[in-house]
Assembly symmetry: C2
Homo-oligomer: 267 residues x 2
Amino acid sequence: MPASSPSSFPEGTLHVIPIDGIPEIRPGDDLGALIGNAITGAIGSLQDGDIVAVTQKVVSKAEGKLIDLRDVAPSTLAQRIATDWDKDARQVEVVLRESVRIVRMVRGLIIAQTKHGFICANAGVDASNVASDTVCLLTDDADASAEAIRQGLVSRFFGKSAGSSPLGVIVTDSFGRPWRSGIVNVAIGVAGMAPLADYRGQYDAAGYELRATVLAVADELASAAELVMHKLAARPVAVIRGFDAQTLGEPGTSRDLVMAEERNLFV
Amino acid sequence: MPASSPSSFPEGTLHVIPIDGIPEIRPGDDLGALIGNAITGAIGSLQDGDIVAVTQKVVSKAEGKLIDLRDVAPSTLAQRIATDWDKDARQVEVVLRESVRIVRMVRGLIIAQTKHGFICANAGVDASNVASDTVCLLTDDADASAEAIRQGLVSRFFGKSAGSSPLGVIVTDSFGRPWRSGIVNVAIGVAGMAPLADYRGQYDAAGYELRATVLAVADELASAAELVMHKLAARPVAVIRGFDAQTLGEPGTSRDLVMAEERNLFV
């Protein structure tokens, strides 16, 4: 058997599977059902331990978190920023409304803290992959969105209550980072799994106690999913198979990924 | 054929393959040859387009970037920090020596800029997975380290010059991030591939011009690799199969991932 045969992958291999067949999402759509249909078409079914990654864009669309810019009256500040930096004043106004704190405003770039505690460009307001004169907001509670999708998928593929099923769902978005170029996908909603792998107090192979090792595995899973999603192809769903999230302990939420205010050294 | 069969993965699936069989690395070891042996044992061979991820720990060990703390005389500042925060003064001294700038020093936590331009905890100095009384430094030029490993692997598995081979190698390390809990794997060395996917000027499915979309795919690949590496298992190598890095354009280096000084809003 040649090494190129898929069946030669060793145990522990992680598979990040692109799911095609998601239609254009509209407000009110049952996103869990549409994702379930696409999964059936692409790979037949889900397995215990799978993690389903979904971009926030389709979650926000299904939940109607879209703003028609023709209905937005920009404030004086929004107008000034837009004039100075060649931006759409209505879009700037929406960014300001979605912000609970402006962290930096430099050269027209707005880095803001959202009501969820996330710090990101434009408070998560995004004009890509939506109709013209429309912007998309972050969903109000992406953990609840992830849990709703999870319940739909568990019911469909496992035929049991969501509470007892080892299926994880994460809602992803692309965030910039201080100090490093480019954006990466992170998890802004989590259901059915712990978002952190906490190795503190355990010992490595050399006998050293790992005192500060907490891995943000939900963010790493989101990044892995992005590699098959592709910005231009508008492919909003991936299934990650082979990562045993159940060993991480009790399920958590995206709140676990937000650094506590008192630990934030970069206000 | 059941959905669980590996051969049912749809086109475009990314496979993140753990490579076991790397021995304990010692200074002077030919890391490329040892990784090649392990790849042969685990999956037979490499394929065009594969990306090999290697943790900086084994790169630094092979290059002898280890410091015996018994030879380190701590400065007055290092002694004071160590006393105040219950740390090893010799280890603090090494962190200070590896720093070109202290970005934050709070509650014993040192976030520093390294000579490479990276900003990370302890300037990358690490005491895990090494012998006691020893710390490991970041390698001097992880891009060159990645290229050396790449040349060894290309020669072994493709029998041609490295310049013409579509094989990528990234050296990875785990960095914390402002605002988000936990650490994630990022790329600190890159060879044979572009670390960024630049979509600027292209249009999405809805006809919107992507003005700010540059994805740090090398960091996302590093994060994907971490998911099969596991801190405790000391598994330092993974092969990522199915990501077509060659469509990204000319190969680059980890310098492309370091944000330019003038764009740094979080000094």
